[in-house]
């Protein structure tokens, strides 16, 4: 009896796993919608921890990063919150205007540059849409019985998302809409420096700069912040085929949109050992000799991505029409 080791349709699923479908789109504040996303194949989504973000590759070719703000115990959906940026170069405008339940978007990550470190107490500071990465952190801190407080600033109450989800926490949460309470007094909220109390903040640059000033007197690495900058490589992620040259083998294969680089390379007779096939375990790490990978893994940090010298072909693809790999 012959049994195929790759169940039929595996190629399809490998790529499907990197596609998510919008299953719900909900306005949650002025200019803010949440998207609930599910794997296109209905399976589990990759695991994540508070502070993680995903890269969403939109139909217009733009890739944007959004913090996950759902429930990690729900293995089948992600939730992100998206603010319509007035100066949007097409990312948030596309999300707000074009995406509807049923729309498909490309998925990269999740990655976590903003992990919650273990502590007995935390201070959280959110500015506007910066609340999104902090929501799951707060849920986790609360679950673990940590002592925590949140300062949530915004322009006005109606522009501040998730107030309903924060209200059960009572006076641990200070909601400070500027039109009601005026400019916020950060030093007053933070209080005296306390070793062992990390300060997690996400929000506009001015808020983070203000916090950095106040925290300068605190122990090193107390303040942990995240600020997204739109990745603008000048090259949208390819939704089309590209070529991969296997330098050592001396062959070139075409990677069509429906297969992973790993699978395309295997058809050329080059087996790259892999394991998780979702960009988390690192087994299939492959040296990149030329070309620019479109990184979709959960492993490389920004500096490692910028180095451009390796990729995980189980999920990552190409930004240009040619990659040269040391295979």
């Amino acid at each position: 009896m012959l049994v195929a080791e790759q169940p039929s349709g595996a190629a399809r699923r490998a790529v499907d796993r990197r596609l998510v479908r919008v299953v719900e789109k909900t306005p949650v504040a002025d200019g803010v919608v949440t998207l609930t996303l599910a794997a296109a194949d209905g399976g589990r989504l990759p695991d994540w921890a508070p502070g993680a973000h995903v890269d969403l590759t939109l139909a217009n070719g733009l890739t944007r990063q959004y913090s996950l703000c759902g429930d990690r115990w729900d293995a089948h959906t992600y939730r992100v919150g998206v603010l319509l940026e007035p100066a949007s170069r097409g990312g948030s405008a596309h999300v707000h205007r074009e995406l509807e339940p049923g729309s498909l978007v490309g998925l990269g990550g999740p990655r976590n540059n903003f992990p919650l470190v273990p502590a007995e107490s935390y201070l959280f500071v959110a500015g506007g849409i910066g609340i999104t990465p902090l929501l799951p952190m707060i849920a986790q801190a609360d679950l673990l019985g940590a002592d925590w407080r949140l300062l949530y600033v915004g322009r006005r109450r109606s522009s501040m998302a998730f107030l309903d989800e924060l209200s059960p926490y009572g006076d641990r949460v200070v909601v400070a809409p500027r039109d009601e309470r005026g400019p916020v007094e950060l030093a007053g909220f933070l209080g005296a420096p306390r070793p062992g109390t990390p300060v997690y903040a996400c929000g506009p640059a001015r808020l983070l700069a203000g916090l950095a000033d106040v925290c300068a007197a605190w122990p090193a690495r107390t303040l942990r912040t995240e600020r997204f900058t739109a990745v603008d490589t000048g090259m949208p992620a390819l939704a089309t085929s590209f070529e991969v040259e296997l330098r050592r083998t001396g062959r070139t294969v075409t990677v069509t949109p429906d297969v992973s680089v790993l699978e395309a390379v295997a058809t050329a007779g080059v087996e790259v050992l892999s394991s998780c096939r979702q960009g988390t375990c690192g087994t299939c790490e492959t040296t990149v000799l030329a070309g620019e990978p479109d990184h979709r893994d959960s492993l490389l940090d920004d500096d490692e991505r910028a180095a451009g010298d390796c990729m995980y072909p189980c999920v990552s693809r190409s930004r240009g029409d040619r990659l040269v790999l040391d295979l």
Partner: protein
């Protein structure tokens, strides 16, 4: 073993997977459990067994419904006291699992190991030269498989030279302790306090060199990524899980190669297959045979509902030879792509040291294939029984130098 079926359609078996008969040759039991159904009740221990690839893979990935914090052995930490403070990695769930895992994944990640590659290759070449200088016949287990990991890994962690002979018995007991309180556990108990004490000593910052994995873990504690209380237990995880497993993994791949001349020939032609060979051996022999989980809710598996709070025994070994997933699963075959085996687990508890294990095996295999034309068994192998590990005590071979 006898197989019965309840009226609810749940197969029941009275087999003892931890008996010496089964540990000597578990393959017939694996097949029986696999063919009995997607889930089988093991009446002797009142646990639910999974032996098929799909179910084992799904349970490994599903940390939400199959928790580890109640212990990954037979003992249920909800009601029984663990024999040692639980592991922050293996015996923990999110969110407590997050920070220790994230830090160790970085410390043991492929990029962090690059600087070890050349040194370990040189160490392996030196060891293989020493072994071959003593003659063409030797026992792989004591001469190579036990020596190489013990030569390079404790140095990489950064522990001192003295007492390293404690590592194998400590690991052996830790892996026995995932099973029932049988004679294998009793055998280790007299030395538990002594060995645990020694291991605990090695995990202190002061006991570690300043450039190893141990120091890297402590540096992360200094940066607040983990707490100073977590750091020594994370070092302990390396010392518990990083030695016996690689010893048995290296034995397994050499067992496969010594009994499959075509595989050895292929590896000689293409030494870059060393990692594939190692992973194929991890699939084929599954040095870590089993782990338990505990259900956090009523879980439906293949038409049966496993109630909340019950122990589920996952046979990684049986999954790795499930004909539903693998063609000719009993064959050690270097033309196969072993990717996706569950010998290292899967999901967020997947072996965090797998890249270390692959690098060790690659170093040994690369050194051997350059120096040895062929390798064959000269006598029967002798099994080492452990409640969790599939291991060899003796693998006598003869080699023809290249």
């Amino acid at each position: 073993m006898s197989l019965l079926e309840t009226s609810a359609g749940l197969p029941v078996s009275d087999v003892d997977p931890f008996s010496h008969d089964v540990l000597e040759d578990p393959l017939p039991m694996h097949e029986q459990l696999r063919e009995a159904g997607p889930v089988v009740h093991l009446s002797r221990y009142d646990v639910f067994a999974l032996a098929r690839y799909a179910e084992v893979h799904a349970a490994l990935a599903d940390w939400q419904q199959f928790q580890s914090a109640a212990g990954v052995g037979l003992s249920n930490f909800r009601t029984e006291k663990p024999w040692r403070p639980p592991s922050l990695l293996l015996e923990a769930d999110p969110p407590r699992h997050d920070a220790p895992r994230r830090v160790l994944a970085k410390v043991l990640g492929p990029r962090a190991l690059r600087h070890l590659h050349d040194r370990w290759v040189a160490d392996a070449e030196q060891l293989v030269d020493e072994v071959l200088a003593a003659g063409p016949e030797f026992d792989v287990v004591p001469a190579l498989a036990q020596v190489f990991p013990l030569r390079v890994f404790p140095d990489a962690v950064g522990i001192g030279q003295s007492g390293r002979e404690n590592l194998l018995p400590y690991g052996d007991h830790a892996f026995n302790a995932f099973g029932p309180a049988n004679d294998l556990v009793a055998k280790g108990e007299p030395r538990v306090a002594e060995l645990s004490g020694w291991v605990g000593e090695q995990c202190r910052r002061e006991a570690l060199s300043d450039d190893g994995f141990g120091a890297a873990i402590w540096a992360m504690a200094d940066r607040g990524e983990v707490t100073p209380e977590q750091a020594p237990l994370m070092v302990r995880s390396l010392l518990t899980a990083g030695v016996d497993t690689t010893v048995h993994g290296i034995s397994a791949v050499l067992y496969g190669l010594a009994t499959h001349p075509e595989a050895w020939a292929r590896l000689r032609e293409e030494p870059s297959l060393a990692r594939v060979a190692f992973d194929e051996a991890v699939r084929w022999e599954s040095p870590v045979q089993t782990f338990f989980r505990t259900t956090t809710t009523d879980v439906a598996i293949g038409g049966t509902v496993v109630p909340e709070g019950r122990k589920v025994l996952m046979f990684l070994s049986a999954a790795n030879r499930d004909p539903r997933r693998w063609a000719e699963p009993d064959r050690f075959d270097l033309t196969r792509d072993p990717s996706g085996h569950v010998g290292f687990g899967m999901g967020l508890h997947q072996c965090v040291g797998q890249h270390v294990a692959r690098l060790e095996a690659e170093a040994v295999l690369t050194a051997l294939v350059r120096r040895v034309r062929s390798i064959e068994l000269t006598g029967p192998v002798r099994r080492h029984h452990n409640n969790t590990l599939r291991a060899l005590d003796s693998l006598p071979v003869r080699v023809v130098p290249a």
